[in-house]
C-alpha cells in the first residue's frame, strides 16, 4: 500500500542511511532485495570529483535521496549545507541534523527549529531529526516540515525504543508523518517503532555493522512491514492476567 510523504508516493516504510556502510557498492543490492526507496546521504561526504568512491554513483535512479546536514553545529551551518546538498544532488529532501553535543551526538532542537523555518521557506521538503519533544514537534509541524524524525535512543547505540512514552504523544498529536530515527539496532526494535504508529523507520548503524548488511536490511524491512500491518489492524491491549477464550462464567448467563 502506498502512502504520501514529502510530496511523493512511496511503498517502503524503511529508510536507510549510508554513512557507516563499509562500501557503497551494497546500496543497489539493498534497494533490490529490501525494497528500500529512501536513502540518506551526508552532504559533507558527497565528493563531486571523487577519485575513489562517490556515494551518488551507487544510488539507483528510482530512489529518493534524502540529504542530511550531519556535522552542522548551528542553524546557519545547516542551512548552508542544505543548499550545497540540493545543488550537488538535485534532491530537495533535506534531513536537518544539528548536533552541538559531540559527546552523545544528541540533536539541538532549538537550532533545528530555526533551520527548519528557513528551509521550508526556501522550498525544501524538510525532515528535522530531533530529540523526542512534542512541543518542538508541534512547532515544526506549524513551520511546515514534511515529517518529524524523533530519535528512539542516541545514535549508534542500538538500544532500541528507549523512550516510547515520549514518542507516543508525538505520534498521537502530529498530523504529518513521524519517522523514528536512531537507536534502532534490531528488527524487533523496528517492528516496535511501527507498532507505536510511526509512519517509517530509518536505520544505518545496525545495517552497516551487520555481518551481512543486505540480509539485515531485508530483515529490518520485513519487521517494519509486520509492525505496520499489526498497527493498521489494531493491536490488542496488554493485560496483567490471563483471559480465557471461552468465558468461564458464561454458564451463569444461560437465560440472556
Amino acid at each position: 500500500m502506498t502512502y504520501q510523504i514529502g510530496g511523493k508516493k512511496l511503498k517502503s516504510r524503511f529508510f536507510i542511511g549510508s554513512g557507516k556502510l563499509s562500501s557503497y557498492t551494497v546500496i543497489p543490492k539493498m534497494v533490490e532485495k529490501a525494497g528500500v526507496e529512501v536513502i540518506t546521504v551526508a552532504v559533507r561526504r558527497i565528493d563531486p570529483d571523487a577519485k575513489h568512491e562517490n556515494v551518488m554513483d551507487f544510488i539507483p535512479e528510482q530512489c529518493v535521496v534524502m540529504v542530511n546536514t550531519s556535522g552542522a553545529r548551528s542553524a546557519e551551518e545547516a542551512v548552508r549545507i542544505a543548499r550545497i546538498g540540493r545543488e550537488l544532488t538535485g534532491s530537495d529532501w533535506i534531513k536537518i541534523e544539528v548536533e552541538t553535543d559531540a559527546k552523545y551526538l544528541l540533536p539541538d532542537n532549538e537550532e533545528t527549529l530555526k533551520a527548519a523555518e528557513i528551509l521550508v521557506d526556501e522550498g525544501f521538503q524538510v525532515f528535522p531529526y530531533i530529540s523526542p519533544d512534542l512541543v518542538v514537534a508541534k512547532k515544526l509541524e506549524k513551520a511546515g516540515v514534511a515529517a518529524v524524525m524523533p530519535l528512539a535512543a542516541p545514535i549508534g547505540t542500538n538500544k532500541g525504543i528507549t523512550c516510547a512514552a515520549l514518542l507516543q504523544p508525538i505520534i498521537n498529536e502530529i498530523e504529518i508523518p513521524v519517522i523514528i530515527d536512531a537507536g534502532i539496532g534490531r528488527p524487533s526494535h523496528a517492528a516496535s517503532a511501527m507498532e507505536l504508529g510511526a509512519d517509517a523507520v530509518l536505520a544505518n548503524t545496525a545495517i552497516a555493522t551487520a555481518t551481512d548488511p543486505i540480509l539485515m536490511a531485508v530483515a529490518m524491512a520485513k519487521a517494519v512491514e509486520a509492525g505496520r500491518m499489526a498497527y493498521e489492524m489494531g493491536l490488542l491491549a496488554e493485560k496483567d492476567f490471563a483471559d480465557a477464550s471461552s468465558p468461564l462464567t458464561g454458564f451463569l448467563r444461560r437465560g440472556e
Binding site: 556502510l21 558527497i46 571523487a50 577519485k51 575513489h52
Partner: protein, 368 residues
C-alpha cells in the same frame, strides 16, 4: 582552565596507582561511561585477557559511532626551518648540518597537485617553529593556496596567539593539530631548551585559542615515550575530555605518535611497546567513545592494519615527510622515518580487504 584541570587530575594519578583485580577491570570495560579513574586503571592494566575484552568493546564502539569507515589524509611539509631546541626532534635548530628548505608558492602548488591527483581532500600543512622563515603570513598564504585544492585544511605549526589563529582561519584553515609533547611541565621545560616553544602554558592553551578563532577540528596528544607514558596518556585523556566538555561543537581527535630514535639527542625515556600502545588506544576509545583517533605512517603497516576497527578513525597514507616530497622525489631526510611506506592505492586495498570504506572526503568543499 585546562591547567587547573590537569593539576586536579595529578592528584588522582598519584592516588590510583595500586594494582586492580581482573574482575574489577572487566567490570570497568563493561561500563557504558567510564570516569577518569576507570580510564587510568585501564591504562595501567597489564593483563592480556582484559586487553582482549577492551579490544572487543573498542571495536563495537568504533563501529557504532564511526561506522565501517576510515578517513584518509596526507601531510604536506612546507618548511623545515626551526629555531626551537627540542632535544628529541630532527628538525631542531642545531640537529641539522645541511641546508634547510622552504617551499615557495609555485612549489606548493606542485606538491598540492600531486596530492590532489592521489585523491586527497584533507591536507595537513606542517612547518617547523621559525617565525622568520615561516611567519604567520607565509602560513596563511599556504592555506589560501591549499583552499583551492582541498576541502579540509589542518595545520600542524607552532602555537599562535588568538589574533594569529584568526588570520589562518580567515585564510581557510579548518583545524589544528598540536602535540603537547609531554604534560610533565618540568620535563617539558627541560627538553625544549630554548625558543618560543619553551612556554608550556602558551602551548597548552593554544587549542582553545584556535577554537575561539573558529577552527573546528582539534587534534591533540603527547609524544609517547618522552615522559612517563601512562602519565602523559592520562593527562592527554583529561585534556581531551576537558575540550569535549567545554567545546562540544569541536570535532576532537587524539593521536599518539611514538618517539622514534632518529639521530636525535635523546631517545625515549619510557619506550612504548606494541602491547602498551594498543592498550592506550583501546583505553582512549573506551573513555572517549566519540573522539577520533589518528595514526600516522610513523607506525608500521602491521600495527596500522590491525588497528583498523580497534579505535582508529583516521590514518595518513602515502605520506612524504620531506619538504618537497610529493612532486619531486627528493632524498632529503624527513622529520621522522616513515615506517609504513605503502602507496595510497595499497592502503585503499588493505582497508577494503578488511571490510572498511576508505573515505577521503570529511567535508565537501564550501562547508567549512
Amino acid at each position: 582552565m585546562i591547567y587547573q584541570e590537569l593539576l586536579d587530575a595529578e592528584t588522582l594519578y598519584q592516588v590510583h596507582q595500586s594494582a586492580v583485580t581482573r574482575t574489577e577491570l572487566m567490570a570497568i570495560v563493561g561500563k557504558d561511561y567510564l570516569d577518569r579513574i576507570d580510564y587510568l586503571k585501564l591504562l595501567l592494566a597489564d593483563d592480556m585477557e582484559v586487553l582482549e575484552r577492551m579490544a572487543r568493546r573498542a571495536h563495537d564502539l568504533t563501529e557504532h559511532y564511526f561506522g565501517k569507515m576510515v578517513l584518509l589524509y596526507a601531510p604536506l611539509y612546507l618548511s623545515d626551518y626551526c629555531t626551537n631546541g627540542c632535544t628529541y626532534c630532527d628538525y631542531s635548530a642545531e640537529a641539522r648540518s645541511y641546508e634547510r628548505k622552504r617551499l615557495d608558492a609555485v612549489e606548493m602548488r606542485e606538491e598540492m597537485e600531486a596530492m590532489k591527483r592521489a585523491g586527497f581532500h584533507s591536507v595537513l600543512l606542517l612547518t617547523g617553529g621559525d617565525r622568520r622563515h615561516s611567519p604567520v603570513s607565509y602560513i596563511a598564504d599556504a592555506v589560501a593556496i591549499a583552499a583551492e585544492y582541498f576541502s579540509e585544511i589542518l595545520l600542524e605549526i607552532y602555537a599562535l596567539t588568538r589574533e594569529e589563529y584568526d588570520v589562518v582561519r580567515g585564510a581557510g584553515a579548518s583545524g589544528l593539530t598540536l602535540y603537547q609533547e609531554t604534560y610533565d611541565r618540568n620535563l617539558y621545560e627541560q627538553v625544549h631548551r630554548y625558543g618560543e616553544k619553551k612556554d608550556y602554558l602558551f602551548r597548552l592553551e593554544a587549542p582553545e585559542r584556535a577554537i575561539a578563532a573558529g577552527l573546528k577540528h582539534i587534534n591533540i596528544g603527547p609524544l609517547l615515550g618522552l615522559g612517563s607514558a601512562v602519565h602523559d596518556m592520562f593527562m592527554a585523556g583529561i585534556h581531551g575530555d576537558y575540550l569535549q566538555r567545554h567545546y562540544p561543537e569541536v570535532e576532537l581527535c587524539l593521536s599518539y605518535p611514538r618517539l622514534r630514535p632518529a639521530g636525535v639527542m635523546v631517545g625515549p625515556s619510557d619506550p612504548v611497546d606494541d602491547i602498551r600502545f594498543v592498550r592506550f588506544i583501546l583505553a582512549t576509545r573506551l573513555f572517549l567513545p566519540r573522539t577520533g583517533i589518528s595514526i600516522s605512517t610513523r607506525e608500521n603497516a602491521y600495527i596500522r592494519d590491525h588497528l583498523v576497527g580497534l579505535g582508529m578513525t583516521r590514518m595518513s597514507a602515502g605520506s612524504k615527510t620531506t619538504v618537497g616530497g610529493y612532486a619531486h622525489n627528493c632524498s632529503r631526510p624527513g622529520q621522522f622515518v616513515i615506517d609504513d611506506e605503502r602507496s595510497v592505492a595499497e592502503i585503499i586495498a588493505m582497508l577494503r580487504q578488511r571490510g572498511y570504506r576508505p573515505e577521503f572526503c570529511n567535508w565537501v568543499k564550501g562547508i567549512l
